[in-house]
Symmetry: none
């Protein structure tokens, strides 16, 4: 019997090809397939078009051990999945009398006579296994061809999800030879994607052993680089050891720009460090407009370590509420190391906290100068001592603000280490 190692998913429905909808069933299915050690090779969304659907199913069946389709099992002319797949596999569609009866019963329960068109949903490709639908009218259908599994599932999540349990338990699990996918994450801040890649590549390209290969993916967003490691195997303990050794090697090579190897966010790691010390934090924010504390307080329970903060969007507020000397602003400018430090110290005094953060910068699109272009951001962290750094972040207003809050979180984290 063919071992099932990989899958493709095809979502059928023209409504999924508008600018407003995403096929989220594939996330559920991917998660559940991965638990069985089945990797998703590709996923596709196709409209209610016989020719396109047939072409995509044909192509997927040359690659995938498991092909899952979602949607296109309704009672209308638009719903083509059953017919197209029966055609491609060269089998007839036959009316299943038990299904007719159960669909009729379903309508009767709601006090409605079954519309004639719903009989289409009782048509079954010859040889298919029928998976009952307890939340709707379209049954699931499972076929096999040359050892490959083809499963037709309905589109609505609450109909599809319980059917997948049946498919997984009875058809897929017995043919996965006990394989499992295991994952790890290494999260980095304060480095660009290529800087991380340059250090990490020599390490992850040598991971893996004779029996197990480790796949690595790098994900980048402003202020955050994630390395995802993934390996498949039957000896879960051995796979875990392999991944853990990879994580250790990467963490050691990358150094203290790695803030998390256990999935925690930068906000959570920083909050945990504050809690461990029994410290509280405050902030004085200018260009980030409250975004730093908004991120700090994203973490449940953060009232234990966040006192509060001041959004000082005007110089007047900086002077009056944070005791930033007006002469300092005149001399160095509002975006300067002196002002950032004075903001952090002012917030620490005002809120009576152990540590405080000051952020001032130019998020754009306007306000830049040749000496201080858009993207210039200064962050200060004040404890009894002070650290301050000037950054020049790339990107638009949103990216610069995101970089700024990430840099501030990271400087706070380092001050707590």
């Amino acid at each position: 019997m063919r071992e099932l190692k990989n899958a493709e998913i095809i979502a059928v429905g023209s409504e999924l090809l508008t600018p407003h909808r995403l096929d989220t069933n594939s996330l559920f299915l991917t998660g559940r397939l991965n638990e069985l050690g089945i990797v998703v090779r590709a996923k596709t969304v196709v409209g209610d078009n016989r020719h396109d659907l047939a072409a995509l199913v044909t192509s997927a069946m040359t690659r995938a051990d498991v092909l899952l389709t979602t949607g296109g099992l309704g009672p209308t002319d638009d719903d083509l999945t059953r017919e197209v797949i029966a055609d491609l596999l060269g089998v007839r569609l036959v009316e299943d009398q038990d299904l007719v009866a159960s669909i009729e019963a379903r309508f009767r329960l709601r006090g409605v006579k079954m519309p004639t068109i719903n009989r289409r949903q009782a048509m079954v490709p010859e040889g298919a296994r029928v998976v009952p639908n307890h939340h709707g009218t379209a049954p699931g259908l499972i076929l096999e061809r040359e050892g490959r599994v083809v499963a037709l599932l309905p589109g609505p999540p609450r109909e599809l999800q319980p059917m997948f349990d049946v498919l997984a338990e009875e058809v897929l699990l017995p043919r996965t030879a006990g394989r499992k996918v295991r994952r790890r994450q290494v999260k980095v801040t304060g480095r660009s994607e290529s800087q991380v890649e340059e250090v990490a590549h020599p390490i992850y390209s040598c991971l893996g052993d004779d029996t197990t290969s480790v796949q690595t993916t790098i994900l980048a967003s402003p202020g955050l680089i994630e390395l995802h490691l993934e390996a498949v195997g039957t000896d879960v303990a051995a796979v875990d050891r392999l991944l853990d050794s990879g994580v250790s090697a990467l963490a050691q090579a990358l150094g203290d720009v790695v803030f998390s190897t256990d999935g925690r966010s930068l906000e959570k790691v920083t909050g945990d460090l504050l809690r461990a010390r029994g410290w509280r934090v405050a902030a004085a924010e200018s260009c980030t407009g409250g975004g730093f504390l908004a991120r700090m307080t994203d973490v449940p329970g953060s009232s234990a370590w966040v006192s509060g903060g001041l959004v000082a969007y005007s110089n007047q507020v900086k002077v009056r509420d944070l005791d930033v000397p007006a002469a300092l602003i005149d001399a160095q400018g509002a975006v300067s190391e002196g002002v950032a430090v004075a903001m952090a110290q002012g917030a620490r005094r005002r809120f009576g906290t152990d540590v405080a953060v000051g952020i001032t910068g130019i998020a754009g699109p306007d306000g830049g100068t040749p000496e201080k272009p858009v993207g210039t951001v200064v962050v200060a962290v004040a404890t009894d001592a002070v650290t301050v750094r000037t950054f020049r972040f790339p990107g638009d207003r949103e990216a610069i603000r995101r970089h700024s809050t990430s840099a501030a979180l990271d400087m706070l984290r380092r001050a707590l280490l």
Copy 2:
């Protein structure tokens, strides 16, 4: 010349085949293609796998007039799109010296030497048109084959989006025979999806005439319901009239919960109202932790109408910095109409603004009580007068915080009308 009627999109990247990520670029691209009257036939996500990518590109090129790929243009070994497509089209990859220079310059600007691996991003398939990347290192590449257009775009949205403008304007638009998709948006806050649907359905289901049909989609997120109207035609003026009449009818039926019919966000609408009055706003935030002002200051130029604010995450800060009477907190609790009003008034006094917002609530997951369950949020807006409302928002911490900032923006908007 082949008329461009339909497109396929292939997103490349193994990270998009995990259970945690969706390809959202395809939504942007679909929207923009639709504006050109180009329909999306199918869209696919494929991993960083040479064989699968080649098979899917080959298959798509038999169907689509326009093939867009996103991702896989980075500097690493994983990034295969350039090579695979050059291979399939039978052209060589040649290093483009101008590109090498511009990538080097980009790194220099940030004070970093270009890592050697980034040279890969200067490799161009022979005959391809290069679209410069002003937000990153990978250029876009446009090829044509038998009248079909193949465009390779980078994955990061802010790199891809401006490149699509170039592609649309210079390559696609001249070949769409004047078809246009026109769209309108009606944005609503403070109502649930079903409340909006109940009022809007009788109206939009009757839109359209003999020659043009109007498609309507309802999109819901915490604190925001959007109605999208869409129609296709060559007589743009007629299509616009049809859509405008629909927008008017919907706006009239829904009333003042409609805050925008011109695409502006709630943040922008509220900021524009403040600017029109020459007013400044301040805020005192508890459960939203700075999120309200972070949204207000998302809008470029917001320093003209935002003075600042106080994040009062502890009661002590509320009492000391906002003059909220401690006795009031004891009597009514920190989450109460009295305290929200005192916070708003305290912020207005302290920051000397025309208007101020106070927000206090229970975002969860802990801290709820039978009388004040998680999701209880009180918002006050103080001018010379005061308005205050108590909400009970559904959802998790993130949704409750988002609902809270939306409700505060909306109450501020109404106070300014």
